[in-house]
């Protein structure tokens, strides 16, 4: 998959990427590139990755998503992963891959609320 296939929307200082197609190794890497470029360009503070559309997430893709969150953090943007399906969560945990260090939320709405909370607590520090 070429880069630019997963649209990344900007809402204020938040970026929203909704993954609706199955992520393969190369498309996952392209997605990571796109996200980081978008962060650089938009000076965002928060990123929401919606994976409601993913039936399957292997450890490679899970690692890419986790890493993307860490990279974004280095660039000043907090990442929240939202909408993971029960089967996906169960499989990842059974494989011993629990995406440590990534914020999660049930849906986009909750993700936005969590970002707002994170940003206000950071502002206080």
């Amino acid at each position: 998959m070429q880069s630019g296939q997963i649209p990344i929307l900007r809402i204020g200082t938040t970026l929203l990427a909704s993954i609706q197609v199955e992520l393969r190794d190369t498309s996952a890497q392209a997605f990571q590139q796109d996200v980081l470029k978008a962060i650089e360009k938009s000076r965002s503070r928060g990123l929401i990755i919606d994976i409601t559309g993913l039936d399957m997430v292997d450890t490679f893709v899970a690692r890419i998503l986790t890493d993307t969150g860490r990279m974004a953090k280095l660039m000043g943007t907090e990442t929240v992963l939202v909408g993971m399906r029960p089967e996906v969560a169960a499989t990842l945990v059974r494989m011993g891959f629990s995406m440590q260090g990534v914020y999660t939320a049930l849906n986009v709405d909750e993700g936005l609320a969590l970002l707002a909370q994170l940003q206000s607590s950071q502002a206080r520090d």
Partner: protein
Amino acid sequence: MTSTLEYMNKLGFTEQELASRHAYFQLTGEDLARLAGLRSFAERHNDEIVEAFYQDLLLKHSESRLFFTDQAALHRAMTAQKRYFLELFSGVADLNYMENRLRVGTTHQRIGVAPKWYLGAYAHYLRLISERLFGDMGYSAESQQAIRSIQKIIFFDMAIAIETYIAAGLDSLARHQAAIRELSTPVIQLYERVLLLPLIGTIDTARAMQVMESVLMRVVEKQAKVIILDIAGVPVVDTRVANHLLQTTEAVRLLGASTVLTGISPQVAQTMVQLGVDLAKMYTRASLEEGLELALSLTGRCIRPKEG
């Protein structure tokens, strides 16, 4: 309710199986032709045999009499019986025939005719028919052969019926197991976005996986923010159980919700620490009451005494 076709598949009734059965029961084309040749004999005696069958056997027994509650039911059963017996002399024993016999098995199983009734009745029927046969044809080589062919088709029949009994029994067992499985993970909605799963009884790996699955399903379904796992009713919490609980907590976190573990007794706390299980990542509370308070505070609510 499992359909006849599903049973055919379940029991593996195929052309190949049919051929193997014909060979095993030594039910040859010759036998089938002989049975077809006895059709007029069967038609001649059918009414009388079925009448005797009901009067002498089924209606004399207090237990089997219970199957025929009224005259209409009795009449229906007798008509079916007559058709059923005549089919023995159709000269065909193909897949269609097997399906027919299978339906008899499932019907008997459903209305609660035990195999003993079925087998006993068949033995009686065989006796009635051989009396008539020897009466008509005398003790000849021909009548001996006829009896042998009839025996073969009857045993061929009984095998199918008994297998159907067993399959239907296993079916209902599977349904019960599913019901028990469901009962063993009752996820309850305590409050808006707060779920409770009281765990009672031993947790093995199979149950732990099922607990995880239903917890995750319900969290997403109800969009719950917190799920309380109460383990007060779990007799033994060892490293394995603790790991299952940790895994469930991790998975719940991946969905974007939190887990609160409650009902931790002093013994459980002691074992956990002695075993070196790290529950620091989980929210834990001694009682369900405290767990509920924590869960509510995680959803931005609290319980307060009424003012005034």
